[in-house]
C-alpha cells in the first residue's frame, strides 16, 4: 500500500462544526430538490409545522404531539444534510491543502523564445497564455502545467503527490510533463505552457475534490429514480389510506399520515446517497488517485478485464540472475568466482543482481582489486560483450553468440551441456549470458524476469471476483507465455504495440466487457481514452494524463487493483444501504398501523407486536428511529462497506444477511428501545 495522506478522523471537530452550519444552509429547497426523498420530507415537515402552529393557536391539546413530530421531521432533513456536509467537508480539507500551493507565482517568460540567450521578463503566472515559453530555474515554482522543451531538472512534486523524493523531468520522452505548483530543486528547464490559468491540473483537482463539478453518476441517477418511484408508491398508499379509513368512520389527522409517509419513504438511503458518492471519490483521493468524474469510480467497480503492463506491475522490470551453469570440467564455485570478478564494475541492474547472487547463494567475498592492474572492458551495443583483464586473466561475459565468437566456436561445436543450458533458458523466457576466460568457455548465467512475490495470489483473488487479468509485454511470445503462467494471468499480449492494446480493448468491449488499464506514454493515450477506466501515471506525459479518466499521483501501476476494489466498495455500500432502508419499513408498519386505528378497531392491537406504550409514542418512536438511523449510518456511508475478494455469491449472501435480514430486525429493537425512553420521559 502506498497511501500517504492520512484520512482525518471520521468526525474531525473542525469539519464537524462546519458541517452543522452547512446542514442548515442546505435546507434551501432549491438545493434539496435534487434529492426527491429528502425534498418530500422537507415539504411535509413544513406542512406539519403549519399544523402545529394551528394546534398551538387553537390550544386543542395536540400541539405537544404535532410539535414533536414536526421537530423530528426537520431533524430528519437536517441529518441527511449533515451526512452530505460531512462528506463534503472531508473533501474540502483536502482541497484547501492543494489551494495553498496555488499562491500566485512569478513566471520568467522568455522574451525571444527562438533565441538561446534566456532573456526573460517577470510576469504573474496568472497572465500566462497557452504556448508561452517560460524558464524555470533552481528554487523556482513551476508557474503552470506544461511540457519541457529543453533541459533537465529534478522536481519536488510533493504538493500533489505527497511524495517528498524529487523526480527527474526532462525534455523529450515520457517524462516531459510538469505540473504547476511544483518546485524545481536543481538545474533549469524551459517549459511550454499547456494549460491556461484556472485550468491547470491542480485547479481541476481542487474542483473535483470539492465536489464543485459533482453530477449524479449513471447508477446514482438510476437509484434516485427507484427511490423517487418508491416515494410515489408510498404517497399513493398513504393518501388513499385516508379514504379507506373513512369507510369505517376513522378520520386520520394529516400529522399522523405524514408521520407514516416519512417513515415509509426511503429516507435512510435518500439521505445518505450523495454522502456515499462523495466519500467514494474521497477514498480514491486519499489513495492518491484522482478521478476526473464519479462515473469513472463507478466504472471501476464494473471492470471485467485488467490490462496490466508486465514491467513494474507483474515483474520487477529488470532481469535478475538466478543461477550459474558451468560447462563440464568447471566447478560451479570457480565459475561464480570468475563471474564475480567480471561483474564487480558492472553497474547495470543485471550486473548488481549477479554480484548479489555470488555473495548470497555462493557465499563469496568481494576480492580486493585496488592494487591490481586491471582493464575494464565496458559493454557496447556493437560487441555485446563486457569483461575485465586482470592479472593476465581475460574474463568476458555477454550475449551467447558474442561469447562464442570470442572463444572462436560455433554453436555446433560448443559443448553439448552449454547448448542444452542455453536452450533451456531461452525456452523458459530467460536470457542466457555466456561466460569465458582466456578463450575458454566456462558456463552460462541464467538471467530472468522475476515475478513479484504474492502477485499470483492477487490474481487468484481477482479471478474470484470475476476479473480477468491480461499481461501486456514487449517480450516475444515464448518469454511472455512463461511469465504469464508463472504469474497466473489469464491472458497476455506479447510483442505488444500501442495499436495492439487498442485493438484488444476494442475487441473486449465489443463482447460487452469493461476494461481498465494504466499507461504513461504518449503512445498509450489512445488506449487510455478507449478503456473504460484509464489510469494515467502522474509521471507520464501530458497527453496520457489528458486521455485517462484517472491519474495516479504515485505512478504505481499495481494500484489498478485497489482502484477496482474502491469502485466495488462504493457500489456495495449503495446497494446494502438501499436494501437496509427498504427492509426497515416492515417494522414501521407494525408500529404505526395499529396505532392509527386503535379507536375504531381496538382488535388491531394484536399487530402491536412490539407492545409500544401508546399510539402517540408508537408514531413518535417510529419517526425518531427513522431520523436517528441516518446519523447512525453516516460512519458506514463514509467508510464504505468492507470489500472482500470472494465471488459474487458469497458477497451477496453476506450482505443480504447483514443488511437485508438486519434491516428487518434492527428497527423492531430500535423502535422498542426508543418507545421505552419516550414513555419514561413522558414525551407522549
Amino acid at each position: 500500500m502506498t497511501t500517504k495522506s492520512v484520512a482525518p478522523a471520521l468526525f474531525d471537530s473542525a469539519i464537524f462544526r462546519q458541517a452543522i452550519t452547512d446542514s442548515f444552509f442546505k435546507l434551501n429547497p432549491r438545493a434539496l430538490s435534487r434529492n426527491p426523498v429528502i425534498f418530500v420530507t422537507e415539504v411535509v415537515a413544513a406542512l406539519v409545522t403549519a399544523f402545529w402552529l394551528r394546534d398551538l393557536l387553537a390550544s386543542n391539546g395536540t400541539a405537544w404531539f404535532s410539535g414533536q413530530i414536526a421537530a423530528w421531521l426537520w431533524f430528519t432533513v437536517l441529518f441527511a444534510n449533515f451526512a452530505e456536509a460531512v462528506a463534503e467537508g472531508r473533501g474540502k480539507a483536502q482541497a484547501d491543502a492543494l489551494r495553498r500551493t496555488r499562491i500566485d507565482t512569478m513566471a520568467k517568460r522568455l522574451v525571444i523564445p527562438e533565441n538561446n540567450d534566456r532573456v526573460y521578463s517577470k510576469v504573474s503566472a496568472n497572465t500566462l497564455n497557452v504556448g508561452d515559453l517560460v524558464l524555470v530555474e533552481t528554487g523556482d515554482i513551476i508557474p503552470a502545467d506544461g511540457e519541457i522543451v529543453e533541459g533537465i531538472a529534478s522536481v519536488n512534486e510533493s504538493a500533489i503527490t505527497g511524495e517528498s523524493a524529487p523526480v527527474i523531468r526532462e525534455s523529450g520522452g515520457d517524462r516531459s510533463a510538469v505540473t504547476g505548483g511544483t518546485t524545481v530543486l536543481s538545474d533549469w528547464i524551459k517549459v511550454k505552457i499547456t494549460a491556461a490559468p484556472g485550468h491547470t491540473f491542480i485547479d481541476r483537482m481542487i474542483a473535483l475534490v470539492e465536489g464543485a463539478e459533482r453530477k449524479k453518476t449513471p447508477n446514482e441517477l438510476a437509484l434516485s429514480i427507484l427511490l423517487a418511484g418508491l416515494t410515489l408508491i408510498f404517497l399513493i398508499a398513504v393518501v388513499t389510506l385516508w379514504g379507506l379509513a373513512g369507510y369505517s368512520g376513522t378520520t386520520l389527522s394529516i400529522t399522523v399520515l405524514v408521520a407514516l409517509l416519512v417513515t415509509l419513504i426511503p429516507t435512510t438511503i435518500g439521505g445518505l446517497l450523495s454522502a456515499i458518492g462523495i466519500a467514494g471519490m474521497d477514498r480514491l483521493i486519499r489513495f492518491n488517485v484522482i478521478a476526473t468524474s464519479g462515473r469513472a469510480v463507478e466504472a471501476a467497480g464494473d471492470v471485467d478485464t485488467l490490462l496490466l503492463d508486465k514491467t513494474g506491475t507483474i515483474t520487477y522490470g529488470n532481469r535478475l540472475a538466478t543461477a550459474f551453469i558451468p560447462v563440464p570440467g568447471v566447478t560451479e564455485k570457480y565459475l561464480a568466482e570468475v563471474i564475480l570478478l567480471a561483474s564487480l564494475t558492472d553497474e547495470t541492474p543485471e550486473g548488481r543482481s549477479i554480484v548479489a547472487l555470488c555473495k548470497g547463494t555462493y557465499a563469496l567475498t568481494e576480492p580486493k582489486m585496488l592494487n591490481k592492474k586491471s582493464i575494464i572492458i565496458p559493454f557496447s551495443a556493437s560487441t555485446r560483450i563486457s569483461g575485465i583483464d586482470i592479472d593476465g586473466r581475460e574474463i568476458r561475459k555477454g550475449a551467447v553468440d558474442a561469447t562464442l565468437k570470442y572463444v572462436k566456436l560455433t554453436s555446433a561445436k560448443a559443448p553439448a551441456a552449454f547448448n542444452e543450458a542455453v536452450d533451456r533458458i531461452s525456452r523458459t523466457g530467460g536470457t542466457p549470458l555466456g561466460v569465458a576466460e582466456n578463450g575458454q568457455l566456462l558456463g552460462v548465467i541464467h538471467l530472468k524476469d522475476v515475478v513479484k512475490p504474492h502477485i499470483k495470489q492477487r490474481f487468484n483473488a481477482l479471478r474470484a471476483m470475476g476479473i480477468r487479468t491480461v499481461m501486456v509485454t514487449g517480450d516475444n511470445p515464448v518469454t511472455a507465455a512463461t511469465i504469464a503462467s508463472e504469474a497466473g494471468v489469464d491472458d497476455f499480449i506479447a510483442e505488444a504495440t500501442p495499436e495492439d492494446k487498442l485493438a484488444y480493448i476494442r475487441a473486449e468491449q465489443k463482447s460487452g466487457r469493461m476494461i481498465a488499464m494504466c499507461g504513461d506514454g504518449t503512445n498509450d493515450a489512445p488506449a487510455l481514452a478507449q478503456a473504460d477506466v484509464g489510469v494515467a501515471m502522474q509521471s507520464g506525459t501530458q497527453a496520457a494524463r489528458e486521455a485517462g479518466n484517472m491519474v495516479d499521483l504515485d505512478s504505481n501501476p499495481t494500484k489498478l487493483i485497489e482502484i477496482v476494489e474502491i469502485g466495488k466498495q462504493l457500489l456495495m455500500t449503495r446497494g446494502s444501504l438501499t436494501t437496509f432502508s427498504i427492509a426497515n419499513d416492515v417494522a414501521k408498519y407494525f408500529a404505526i398501523i395499529p396505532a392509527l386505528f386503535v379507536v375504531t378497531y381496538p382488535e388491531l392491537g394484536a399487530l402491536n407486536v412490539m407492545h409500544l406504550a401508546s399510539p402517540q409514542s408508537a408514531i413518535l418512536s417510529a419517526i425518531i428511529f427513522n431520523a436517528l438511523i441516518i446519523v447512525a449510518l453516516i460512519p458506514l456511508a463514509l467508510k464504505g462497506i468492507a470489500y472482500r475478494p470472494v465471488g459474487a455469491s458469497a458477497l451477496l449472501r453476506r450482505n443480504l444477511l447483514i443488511y437485508g435480514l438486519g434491516g428487518l430486525i434492527v428497527p423492531f429493537i430500535g423502535i422498542k428501545v426508543i418507545d421505552l425512553v419516550v414513555a419514561a420521559l413522558h414525551l407522549a
Binding site: 449513471p218 438510476a222 408508491i233 399513493i236 388513499t240 449503495r574 446497494g575 386505528f597 451477496l652
Partner: protein, 564 residues
C-alpha cells in the same frame, strides 16, 4: 387438513410442473421458428391476413398490438349492443346496456373476464362464441406474443428488433392454444360437460316446479377459459356450477389446464435465453407462492370460524360455506389460490365465503401483481419487470452496477419499471379509496363492516390485476362500477404493457455482458429468496394498510366473536 387433501394438491402441482417443462420446451421451439408442423395452416392465415413476418422494433410491435386490441374492443362492444339483430340468440336477449357493454368488452380484451352480468341470462350464444370465446383465444395469444417479445430482448444482443407481433399472434394461437384447447375440450366433454347449440331446456321437478336449465357450447368455452387464464364462465356460477365443473376429475383438469401454460412460460424463457436455470428460478418463485398460499387457505378453511362452531356446527368439517362438497377444502384452496395467483379468475367456490385469512390470500395474490405465475404471457413479462427491479436493488450489493442476464439495468429501465409498477397501486388503492367513501358506490355493498371494504378492494384488485374473479356480495352492474372497473382493467393491462415493451426495446439494443464470477447470480436459491422477498415486501408495503382495515381486522374481529 388431511393427508389425502395434501396428496391431491401435491399431485396436481407435480403434474403441472411436468407438463410445463414439456410445453415450455415445445413453445421455445415454436417461437424460435423450429417447429412448423402446421406450416400450411400458418401460410394460409398469413396469406389471407396479408402478414409478412418482418422483424419489428418495440414501437411497431406495441403499436400493432394496441391497434389489434382496439379493433377487438370495438367489435366486442358492437356485438353486445347489436345482440338482438344477430343470429344464434335462442333466448331472444336484447341489447346489452352501454356501461355493461363497455365493461365487458374491456374485460375480454384485457384477458380479465370480469363479468358484471350473468352469462346465461344476458348474452346470446353468438356473442359468447364469436365474441367471448374468440377473445379468450386472442387476448391470451396477445399475452404470449408480448412475453415472447421481451424474452427475445433478453436473448438478443445489440439489435433493435424483437420479432413480429402478427407472426407471434398467429403462432401462439395456431401452435399452442388451439391444439391444447381441442384436447382439453374433448376431455371435458368426456367428463360430462355439455356441448350443444341448444339454448335451454325446461324441466319439471319431482315437486312439480317448472325449471329452466341453461345449456350451450360450454365445454369448448371451458377449455380456453382455463388454458388462456381467462376465467369468464359460460354460466354465472362459473366453475362451481355442475355444468362447468361436474366432478373432482373435471376440477383436477381445470386446475391443470389453467396453470400449465403460464407455468410453461418461464421454461420457454429459460430455453430461449440459452440458460434453463434462469427460467427454473422464476418458475420456483412462482410456485413457492402458489404452495404457500394454498397452505394458508387450506389451513384457514380447515380451522373454520369459531363463531359458527360456537353455534354447535361440527368444527371437524372446517368452513364449508360457499364451497362445493364434490371438491372439498383442499381442491377449493388450491383452485382459489391458483386462479388468483394466475390472472385466471375462474372460481369453484364463493371467495366471499372464505374465512377472513382464507380470503386475504386470494386478494393479496392478485395485488402482488400478475406474477405468481400470472396470466398466460402476462405472468412472464410481469415477473421479468419485478426481476429487473430485484436485480437493481440487490445487484449493487455484489459491487457491480446491476445487470440481468447480461443486460445492464440503467436509469432508463428503472424509470420504465417504476412507471409500470406504479399503475397497480394507483388504480387499486385510488378507486377503492374513492368507492369506500362515495355513497353511490357504497350502496352496491351487500355486507357491512370490514367485509364490505374487502369486497370493494377485491373488485378493483381483480380488475386492475386482470384477474376477473369476484368476491361476490358486491353488485358491480352499476354505471359507477362498470365504468371504473373497465378503466381499471384497461390501465392494469395496457399501462403496464407499454413501459414493459419499452424496457424490452431498450434491453434488446444492449450488448450482452458475459457472465463471470463477479456477476450477480440470478439462478440460485439466493436469487429466488430475494425475488420472493422483494415481491412480498414491496407488495406488502403497498397494501398492508388497506388489508389491515379489511380481512386482517375482520380476522381479529372474528376471533373476538364480533359480527356485523
Amino acid at each position: 387438513m388431511t393427508l389425502a387433501g395434501w396428496f391431491q394438491i401435491i399431485l396436481i402441482l407435480a403434474l403441472v410442473t411436468g407438463g410445463a417443462v414439456l410445453l415450455g420446451r415445445y413453445m421455445a421451439a415454436v417461437f424460435s421458428g423450429q417447429k412448423t408442423f402446421l406450416a400450411p395452416g400458418e401460410n394460409i392465415i398469413n396469406r389471407l391476413a396479408g402478414i409478412t413476418p418482418r422483424e419489428q422494433d418495440w414501437k411497431t410491435y406495441t403499436l400493432a398490438m394496441l391497434a389489434f386490441n382496439a379493433a377487438g374492443f370495438i367489435v366486442l362492444y358492437g356485438l353486445q349492443r347489436l345482440q338482438e339483430f344477430l343470429p344464434l340468440n335462442p333466448q331472444g336477449f336484447s341489447a346489452v346496456p352501454e356501461a355493461l357493454s363497455f365493461n365487458t368488452a374491456m374485460s375480454f380484451v384485457t384477458n380479465t373476464n370480469w363479468q358484471s352480468y350473468g352469462g346465461e341470462a344476458t348474452m346470446s350464444h353468438f356473442v359468447q362464441m364469436a365474441g367471448f370465446t374468440v377473445h379468450n383465444f386472442l387476448s391470451a395469444a396477445t399475452g404470449i406474443a408480448l412475453a415472447v417479445a421481451i424474452t427475445r430482448a433478453f436473448a438478443r444482443s445489440g439489435v433493435n428488433t424483437i420479432g413480429n407481433f402478427w407472426d407471434d399472434l398467429v403462432k401462439s394461437t395456431l401452435y399452442v392454444l388451439l391444439p391444447l384447447s381441442i384436447v382439453v375440450a374433448i376431455a371435458f366433454i368426456a367428463l360430462g360437460i355439455p356441448q350443444t347449440l341448444q339454448g335451454s331446456i325446461d324441466a319439471t321437478t319431482l315437486e312439480g316446479v317448472k325449471q329452466t336449465i341453461a345449456l350451450g357450447p360450454i365445454a369448448s368455452q371451458e377449455a380456453i377459459k382455463q388454458l388462456g387464464t381467462n376465467g369468464g364462465g359460460f354460466l354465472n356460477a362459473n366453475s362451481a356450477h355442475p355444468f362447468e365443473n361436474p366432478s373432482a376429475w373435471s376440477d383436477y383438469l381445470s386446475i391443470f389446464a389453467m396453470l400449465v401454460v403460464s407455468a410453461a412460460m418461464p421454461f420457454m424463457f429459460g430455453r430461449m435465453v440459452g440458460d434453463v436455470r434462469q427460467g427454473r428460478a422464476l418458475f420456483i418463485t412462482m410456485f413457492l407462492f402458489i404452495t404457500m398460499g394454498t397452505a394458508i387457505v387450506y389451513w384457514a378453511e380447515a380451522t373454520g370460524n369459531p363463531i359458527i362452531h360456537a353455534l354447535g356446527i361440527d368444527p371437524s368439517q372446517g368452513n364449508m360455506e360457499g364451497k362445493e362438497v364434490r371438491f372439498g377444502l383442499a381442491m377449493t384452496a388450491l383452485f382459489a389460490v391458483a386462479t388468483t395467483g394466475l390472472s385466471c379468475g375462474a372460481v369453484n367456490a364463493m371467495h366471499a365465503s372464505l374465512t377472513p385469512l382464507g380470503g386475504l390470500v386470494p386478494l393479496f395474490m392478485i395485488q402482488l401483481g400478475e406474477v405468481l405465475p400470472g396470466g398466460v404471457g402476462s405472468g412472464l413479462y410481469g415477473i421479468l419487470v419485478i426481476a429487473v427491479l430485484t436485480v437493481f436493488i440487490a445487484g449493487l450489493m455484489v459491487g457491480r452496477t446491476p445487470d440481468y442476464l447480461g443486460k445492464k439495468i440503467e436509469a432508463k429501465e428503472m424509470k420504465l419499471a417504476m412507471l409500470a409498477l406504479l399503475i397497480l397501486p394507483l388504480v387499486i388503492l385510488g378507486f377503492s379509496a374513492v368507492s369506500a367513501i362515495l355513497p353511490l358506490a357504497l350502496s352496491s355493498l351487500a355486507n357491512a363492516g370490514p367485509h364490505g371494504l374487502s369486497e370493494i378492494l377485491y373488485a378493483y384488485s381483480s380488475a386492475a390485476g386482470n384477474n376477473g374473479s369476484a368476491f361476490a356480495g358486491l353488485n358491480a352492474n352499476t354505471n359507477w362500477y362498470n365504468t371504473t372497473l373497465g378503466i381499471s382493467m384497461f390501465l392494469g393491462r395496457f399501462a403496464y404493457i407499454v413501459p414493459m415493451m419499452a424496457i424490452a426495446g431498450s434491453l434488446a439494443a444492449k450488448t450482452k455482458v458475459p457472465a463471470s464470477n463477479g456477476s450477480f447470480p440470478t439462478h440460485g436459491t439466493m436469487f429466488i429468496t430475494l425475488l420472493v422477498g422483494v415481491i412480498l415486501i414491496l407488495g406488502g408495503l403497498q397494501y398492508f394498510p388497506s388489508l389491515a382495515l379489511s380481512p386482517i381486522v375482520e380476522h381479529f374481529l372474528m376471533l373476538a366473536g364480533k359480527t356485523f
